[in-house]
Assembly symmetry: C3
Homo-oligomer: 324 residues x 3
């Protein structure tokens, strides 16, 4: 949509003589990843550092910060940039696949079996030797690579990309909306439409009743050879490194990035916006609240300790207790 329309919807005040309001805004994006023709926002001072080198065309920003905006970016002065981002985000979402199972324009490779009652949205592309079982749902523009198996009652939301040799078990949901809201002073939560997607690379296996949310912008990524157990939560914009193993009931909050061959035990979790180094092992029920930057270590507990220290700590606790 045109920048002039955005300004009108958000009821912003911008001098049409000073800026070209006819430019087309094609996407909302972060400052770091945004490109020409895209809109971003700035509210948290941690992100100022990305402003100068950002390729975006316009930014929602508070009046007090306007001097920091470089010349190539149009500043959209907003009393609450994050809430205005939420309000405009719904205009950048594609429509729901509410129509009947069309089966008019999908491409299905050789030797593939699509069971009865499977929904195929428009422009779906399915490779060779793919199995999709009873009642599963494959939204618009989804791609599924060769030899993949989708068990019954799986839901794959629109725009998801699934690689080759992938297995997805029943009742798992790929691409549901990330949990993103901007909260007003009165406590109302404005939905930030989740306009990204999920990319699942080759040779991934995903258990039953697992949820992997679509990205708010860009992609949630599950890399090659990752194996995910049942009832696992992977939030929007996570990046799960090659060969990582996530046991049952693990939860990973938004934008967290795991290196390759990380192992997380059952019911362990990681907060959002952190990095976990390659070859890290997190034992069951542990909680990771800060980035782990040294690779190959073994961690336990909540708060998190290196496993050996945690064992000593447990011994100390027992000892302390036994005095009484």
């Amino acid at each position: 949509m045109r920048l002039s329309e955005i300004i009108e919807i958000l009821n912003l005040d911008l001098d049409p003589k000073k800026y070209n309001l006819n430019i087309e805004i094609t996407k909302i994006n972060s400052l770091e990843n945004g490109k020409n023709g895209e809109l971003s926002f700035l509210e948290n001072s941690n992100y100022f550092k990305y402003l100068n080198s950002s390729l975006i065309s316009a930014v929602l920003i508070s009046e007090k910060d306007i001097k920091k905006v470089p010349k190539h970016i149009i500043p959209l002065i907003s009393e609450n940039p994050y809430i205005d981002l939420a309000r405009i985000s719904k205009y950048f979402t594609t429509s729901l696949e509410i129509s009947e199972d069309k089966r008019v324009d999908e491409v299905v490779g050789k030797y593939s079996n699509i069971a009865k009652n499977v929904f195929l949205g428009s422009s779906v592309v399915i490779g060779n030797n793919v199995t999709i079982m009873h009642n599963s749902y494959v939204g618009d523009n989804v791609k599924i690579g060769d030899n993949s198996i989708i068990y019954p009652n799986v839901t794959i939301y629109k725009e998801t990309i699934v690689g080759k040799n992938v297995i997805i078990h029943s009742a798992t949901v790929i691409g549901s909306d990330g949990f993103g809201f901007a909260t007003t002073n009165s406590g109302e939560h404005i939905k930030i439409y989740q306009n990204g997607n999920v990319i699942i690379e080759d040779s991934v296996e995903i258990g039953s009743n697992t949820s992997i949310d679509r990205a708010v912008f860009n992609s949630t990524i599950i890399r090659k050879g990752v194996k995910i157990d049942n009832l696992v939560q992977i939030a929007h914009n996570c990046d799960i490194g090659e060969g990582t193993l996530l046991a049952a009931q693990v939860g990973i909050a938004g934008s967290t990035k795991l290196g390759r061959n990380v192992v997380m035990g059952g019911q362990s979790a990681a907060v959002g916006h952190i990095v976990i180094a390659p070859f890290t092992t997190i034992t069951g029920k542990a909680g990771v609240t800060k980035s782990i930057t040294t690779s190959g270590k073994f961690w336990s507990g909540y708060p998190l300790f290196e496993h050996k220290k945690w064992l000593k700590f447990q011994a100390k606790i027992s000892q302390l207790f036994s005095k009484r």
Copy 2:
């Protein structure tokens, strides 16, 4: 059913001359909420206080407690009131929607899209501009308000009420039976039929693979503007206050009541039968075991501490540990 039938089924001993056994019992209910024509039970002495003012017509009660029953309530003397309640509860459940997708008497508003393979039970009422996607299930007597979106493979059990502008993501289940059993001395668990329902108010969003159980009596309530993430458990008879946010994998046990704008972090939980004050924040993995009565505070850990104390406690642990 008539009181005389209940007495016969449970094989109770009651003088037909002393009491009117012809009265119609329409529902099982708690002492607090029960009305005229309803049956309750009393086993736990904490509930004696509700007996005198209760509007119910009959109560299952131990012989030793019979003198506490006021004149307007008929006492049904039972060796095990809770087990007898369980045994009679199944006679108050409505039948399952086992029939074919009838699509004979539902009311569907303007501009609503009900996808292929969606099951609509009898007497369903759907507002205007509602979207219900592939393979979802809408049980008997369910109501869904204007502009709501039900994603694919959602299950909405009978009698659920869904407000306007509600979004429910895939594989989520609304209205499954609460986890309620009366256990005999021999260790057998007798099902307490869950005859209540779920009410979801306006502008609620619910993620994927979440379970919200129907009430045993009356309603489990999700109030206006609540946002619930993926893989969340809300047990029977919970009441989730307006604008509350529940992150992924949160669990809330039965009959717990959250005030408005509570925030619970990922994998946190609350035990049953407690109250959490408005504007309370519970951080990830924390466990709430007692009511929180002061509003606006920030809590962490299991056992639970105020967040600042918890941080100090963590520091103390580290210090203790580092001595070795």
Copy 3:
């Protein structure tokens, strides 16, 4: 398949004059449970004790351990027995039910209601008075006993056995693959095909969004009268004792065996390969990491303490903390 084919697929070196390579291998199994005509593997020295009395016909084993193999078992020398087991496991899996809903050879008892859009695989046997609701999936060779109720959108994988008077709530998955992989030195995970099944005995109730995985060999067993809440994870080869209660979001790792009438509170968990004695109670959020051999006790926390000790420990923590 013939032993000679296995040797060819795995590229093993075995003298055809010394051993009869024409024998038929019908199954992969553990050393303890294996029978004549079955293949096993030995990598972990804890299992040597089972080797002499094992009834299996052949074993994948390292060259260094070959002298421990008794004469009645053919040793298949492998550089990595576990990875070779994984590589051969897929040849012992039955095919997926990819075909259309056949409804040609199933047996359905009297008064049973199978809703529209329910998938019935081949050779399904359903008892009398069974209800299977909208969109549920019943794989090949599944058996369901009298009076059982399967709610909508349930997935029951092939070969599952369901007893009488069983209730399974929506979006629950029975028989998905256990989480089993053999990892190569380069960090690649080779799938161990899960060729066992799930057995659910009479009078079991299972909540919504729960996952119970099929066994790698033999059966995952849920015994008579067990009641399982929502969002529970039961891994491959678990054995859940009669009358056990598992509250919401409990997780039990592979091969763990619970005695009768165990109670596990919400979000509690047990590691794999342990035993929990009958009548044990585990409170919410607790983590069991070692076998519990004395029955009837009450346990809390992670690490686990006896409940009374845990309460004292909590008091001690508070006291320690309050000094500051």
